[in-house]
Amino acid sequence: MNGAASASGAILPARSGLLGNLSDTLWRKPTLLLLLMLAPPVLWLGIVYLGSLFALLLQSFFSIDEFSGLINRQFTLKTYGELLRPSNIDIIVRTVSMAALVTLAAAIVAFPIAYFAARYARGKWKALFYLGIMLPLWSSYLVKIYAWKLILAKEGILTWLLAKLHLTWLIDAWLSLPVVGGNSLSVSFTGTFIVFVYVWLPFMILPVQAALERVPQNLVEASSDLGATPAQTFRTVLFPLALPGIVAGSIFTFSLTLGDYIIPQIIGTSRLFIGQAVYAHQGTAGNIPLAAAFTAVPIVVMGFYLWGARRLGAFNAL
């Protein structure tokens, strides 16, 4: 065999050049590669993201001097004491109840849609499903909310439609109810609720669909085979296996509702939600400590929520 042939067919061909050496080095030292890949996101998450959050939370332990409006940088729980004033407790209870109701409604609306997509939609129907879910997310949030304001307004489409159906009495009866009612849907908690559910629904559908996709069809068949009615199959097989998806979705709907300040401002009553309170205190009022204390509320609520979900076994099927 001559030299040229053996060189071109070398068993361990040498790789030259800087890039070649670099990839060889990284292959030999996988830890180095991991370090290089992880460093930027860890720095971003650790410093920019969590760091600023902690800086904000730290502010909640400062207090504001009520006469001068200056911030007193001494650690105190005074601001948290302010947070527990009845008017602020009202805001917290209102926001958490709204978030819970929105989450529940989103889960109920999302499940059949997600089930259809996971079980029956194939090919172009699946594409259509994803398009239908994602399309609203591509348009501006504000445009959607103002569109809803028109739909829900006193002279809006919904009132017109109900009038055509001779159901005006129904909406009047609903609006005359305390708490959920009001002058029109667009200035009632009902309106706020409807828009919240609409805006956050995709964030519930997608994780539930992903969870249901992982449930093999033969588990549903096995359940039916063993004598479970469709309702029993739903309760004992489908729901528990979809629960991690529902919990994942509810983390989105719940926390997004807890923090939003635009929807209740445009559609709803004049009563405040946590987001609006934060906005007001850090902006016009200049009370950063109280705004920071309000910010801590959703974090604590979500912490308890996840802890409770874990206790209920929501993550057992993961």
């Binding site: 068949e221 096995a222 039916s224 085979d225 063993l226 009615t229 004992t236």
Partner: protein, 331 residues
């Protein structure tokens, strides 16, 4: 004898595909019935029709004399052992086994007791607290069996239950399933593509091809007297001989099957057929010879102790006319 499951001209079409095509079938109470066929032959669809997961496009299905086409699976006293077991991943073994009792509203204590009994029946006592994910394939299959049997079904359906097990385990499970079926007296309907499994376990076998049943009979009938080329080919390793060849050596122009163990090596003599050895495969107890006879491939089995001719050597073979099984097909 009572008929457990009766198919009367049952068809199940998926669009243009005739998965099951006008099948007539009677499965007797208490028998071990095997549905044998290649994949796509309609055997699994037949099983799913009995379970109620599929509804027939046409025809009449009776389970113990009662019309069943419109009865949903959860109201049929029929249980299935699924191919990949379909154990509920979020429930432990005991809850999996007790599932059927739970949905029927049996009390907790009673459920625990019966589940443990069923686990003992499949030789997994004390495994109740484990999760399906912690079990081996063989153990999962036993749990699936216990989960079905705990409901005391009238008919137990098994969809390729041994397919995922390794050879040793499969052989011991075959014996165990057979013994279980004998002692419980439940009708077992068993789907498999493994002819050895069907022949060794079943009381009767139905051979499926393209949505139709080609032959129903005892394992011996199916093996010794296949009624068609397809059955002879699919069941066992029989030599399938074309009409011309049969005409030359047996006088009748028809397709025939000849089992390899019926082919003997003989001395050169009038009536002996000249052959060339193509290959030989040592199987332990026996040796399988591949022979070329007038351009026709014929397999023969030599028992241990017989001299094995070298590849390429010329030999002579003979077989008894009685061992040649003539089939109806002539073309």
């Amino acid at each position: 004898m009572t008929t457990a499951v009766s198919f009367d001209k049952i068809s199940r079409h998926f669009g243009q595909v005739k998965a099951v095509d006008a099948v007539d079938l009677d499965i007797r109470e208490g028998e071990f019935f095997a549905m044998l066929g290649p994949s796509g032959s309609g055997k699994t669809t037949c099983l799913r029709l009995i379970a109620g997961f599929e509804r027939p496009t046409a025809g009449r299905l009776e389970i113990f004399g009662e019309r069943a086409e419109d009865v949903p699976p959860y109201r049929r006293n029929v249980n299935t052992v699924f191919q990949d077991y379909a154990l509920f991943p979020h429930l432990n073994v005991a809850d999996n086994v007790a599932y059927g009792l739970m949905v029927k509203g049996v009390g907790n204590a009673e459920r625990r007791r019966e589940a443990e009994e069923a686990l003992e029946l499949v030789k997994l006592p004390g495994y109740g607290a484990r999760r399906p994910g912690q079990l081996s394939g063989g153990q999962r299959q036993r749990v699936a069996l216990a989960r079905a049997l705990v409901n005391r079904p009238k008919v137990l359906l098994l969809d390729e239950p041994l397919g995922a097990l390794d050879l040793k385990l499969r052989e011991s499970m075959q014996e165990e399933l057979k013994a279980l079926q004998r002692s419980l007296g439940i009708t077992f309907v068993f789907v498999t593509h493994d002819q050895g499994e069907a022949l060794s376990m079943a009381d009767r076998v139905a051979v499926f091809d393209h949505g139709k049943i080609k032959q129903i009979g005892s394992p011996e009938e199916i093996y010794k007297t296949p009624n068609s080329r397809f059955v002879a080919d699919f069941v066992g390793s029989s030599n399938v001989l074309p009409p011309d060849f049969v005409a030359r050596h047996a006088g009748e122009k028809r397709w025939a099957s000849l089992r390899p163990e019926s082919v003997r090596l003989v001395e050169q003599a009038p009536g002996a057929i000249a052959a060339t050895v193509i290959s030989s495969a040592y199987m332990g107890g026996t040796t399988r010879l591949g022979l070329d006879v007038e351009g026709q491939r014929i397999n023969a089995v030599l028992s241990a102790g017989e001299a094995i001719p070298a590849d390429g050597s010329a030999v002579h073979i003979g077989f008894s006319r009685d061992d040649l099984h003539l089939m109806d097909e002539t073309g």
